[in-house]
Symmetry: C2
Subunit: 400 residues, 2 copies
């Protein structure tokens, strides 16, 4: 038959990053393009034991449909972890388990905004939020980043302007710590400023914190949620970077009234998150393995970050880049006249891949930017890959 698809679908572009996955598997390719955790960090042996325990003790529950809001035992364990890890004091009624934090990125804009409403995002920002906005027909206005994350002065001006135009933004989405894609972290004064503005204008904040545990240098900063006395912040966490991403288990921390709305939507989205994976996460915290695994992951990733930064310092001309204190990514800015998307073909020919920065803008992309992942490649690959990238940039520059 001849299909007629909905108008909606025309607004949703396939993810450039997902498309890049195929290059990762090309022989000889060094890819900085993905966002994959390094499988060396997966706690295989511990998970094997956990799986045995689960099948011995809770098989009937771990294989059965669970509650839409998540496994009660996991929510209980998460209250302890959130307190110990991020000084976030909440009870289980403040927690909802999600199918990856992507499910929260999809659902929360719908909870807060109608089609045609505005959300406030960072530029650049995580592609998962951009695809949610596109899928749901929600508009955005973007606040620029500098090396201290979202420019909250610019946010303040924007909020004033929007108020004068009688436009009420429905949420502010931020990744304040080790931002994806830029790698920047918002210092304490900006965090306070952001919270003040959100309170003043009565706008909920969506704080996405997938990388908070992965700090390699500098001092830990409080999450927005831990400083939030007014229920402004809906906080997103995930086990993807500190356990295993294939288990698709995330969590949303918010006021019960927000979670009640999210719950209604999750019933339509997938009824409930995978029960077995929730039991795994439950045992992973309960047995304290999470607290042993994070330092191991940090050790591996810190080394890889340092190798990439050193390689960039040694080999890269004609570019500037962020020096992240944690997370998985750094952000490269080429001279204004260069276009990282156009250059990608040359990079692939030179056997190195990256994600073009333009993928991380909802509006008005900066075409001279790219994101590099430093957690997945081998140490020697990182050095070689940066050499190939430097060569690519030189060749491309010479060709202009």
């Amino acid at each position: 038959m001849k299909f007629e698809f909905s108008e909606n679908m025309k607004n949703i572009k396939p993810s450039e990053i997902r498309a890049l996955l195929k290059y990762i598997h090309m022989p000889g390719m060094i890819s900085f393009g993905g966002g994959l955790p390094n499988p060396e960090t997966f706690p295989d042996e511990e998970l094997k034991n956990i799986l045995n325990d689960i099948m011995e003790n809770y098989a009937a529950s771990a294989l059965q449909y669970g509650q839409t809001d998540g496994l009660p035992e996991l929510k209980e364990q998460l209250t302890g972890y959130l307190k110990a890890d991020e000084n976030i004091s909440v009870s289980p009624e403040n927690i909802m388990i999600t199918t990856g934090s992507q499910q929260a990125l999809y659902a929360l804009p719908i909870v807060f905004a109608n089609r045609g409403d505005y959300g406030i995002i960072e530029a650049p920002t995580y592609v998962g939020m951009i695809s949610s906005l596109n899928a749901n027909g929600i508009k955005s206005t973007s606040i620029d980043l500098d090396e201290n994350g979202m420019k909250t002065d610019e946010l303040e001006d924007r909020l004033k302007t929007m108020r004068s135009m009688n436009i009420k933004p429905k949420f502010i989405y931020t990744i304040p710590t080790f931002q994806n894609p830029a790698g920047y972290t918002m210092p304490l004064d900006r965090r306070k400023h952001l919270l003040e503005l959100a309170e003043q204008y009565n706008i909920p904040i969506i704080e996405d914190n997938p990388y908070g545990d992965l700090r390699y240098s500098g001092k830990k900063l409080p999450t927005l949620k831990s400083m939030d006395n007014n229920g402004l912040v809906t906080y997103l966490g995930t086990f993807s970077k500190i356990m295993a991403p294939g288990l698709r288990t995330g969590f949303t921390v918010s006021q019960p009234e927000v979670l009640t709305e999210f719950n209604k939507l999750k019933q339509a989205l997938d009824l409930a998150t995978d029960s077995l994976s929730q039991y795994i996460a439950y045992e992973y915290i309960r047995k304290g393995i999470i607290y042993k695994q994070i330092p191991k992951t940090i050790e591996l990733y810190k080394k890889k970050r340092d190798i990439m930064l050193e390689a960039l310092d040694d080999d890269m001309k004609n570019a500037t880049w962020s020096r992240p204190d944690g997370g998985m990514f750094l952000w490269v800015q080429l001279p204004k006249e260069m276009n990282a998307l156009k250059m990608l073909e040359r990079a692939i020919a030179n056997k190195v891949a990256y994600v073009t920065g333009s993928a991380f803008y909802h509006n008005d992309p900066e075409l001279n930017t790219m994101r590099l992942n430093f957690t997945y490649s081998g140490d020697e690959e990182i050095k070689d890959g940066i050499k190939r990238l430097a060569k690519t940039i030189e060749e491309e520059k010479a060709s202009l």
Copy 2:
């Protein structure tokens, strides 16, 4: 803070069935309300072995992010299963793995319809489709069922009427085999008629077949998809009823161009389905366990269906009910003047629970109906529960 939720959320009602889950756990309650497979059917031992194999052989992949469209090895295995089980001949490019078939019920209406467009559904129909329609602002027109499923003559009339009004329905959603909630099965002539109408009016069919493998009497009928020569049918399957529902693994079989659209949306919904659960499903088919497990499940459920039908024949007055050849549910119709929702309080007091039929209508609910699940309760519980229900109905009738 004071939250302002979107207008969207006002259209989404919390699921009555999900709310009923809490009664299942009340002491002494016999609940026919859930839709839970019986945990006796979970292949614990086999899954334990499969998990060991996976952690030995594929841990790094089973814990890593997977492709959005699903694990290639699982899709390959599914082509063999679909051929053997339902005579559906497809290749892996026709298959997409979903996070439960609920994810497909959420996504496919968006792929085919805009807000305000019409889909055609059965009345009554599965609540998962109703919550998707509500979440996505899609309207519906309902075709009545009789003991042979959707009345395709009524469908034909409706299509003519809609055409005369210049309204193009965007899809037809049907559960032709062991329908949920009604338990009815569409015979071959109606299946052919439905396919003819879909072709004539160029409307895609969404065929939901979660129970097809669970036949306890009567002769197997071909799925719509197996009779579809024109790519009209998008077919939904799930491992929930033939392996374990907690693993949230479903599959959609369709034309590649439909799946390309679905894939874009799934990137926004959850990036990818749980990798570990997909590996479990892969091994479950590859090792042939699925073919051994289905007859065991049939044996258990057939007995329970027979017990419930016999109990109804013995004890129930003032009602009629369906006599399903398979699946998990039967449908009870009370006298017109009775209201099953109003009666629920009395039922709970009598320690028996059901789902009111009104939950299964998108428009114009039949208030004198209820759905009973016969797969979850113990054999003696089924007998006692039906006695309690008969008593409840008599008391309620006397009180009117």
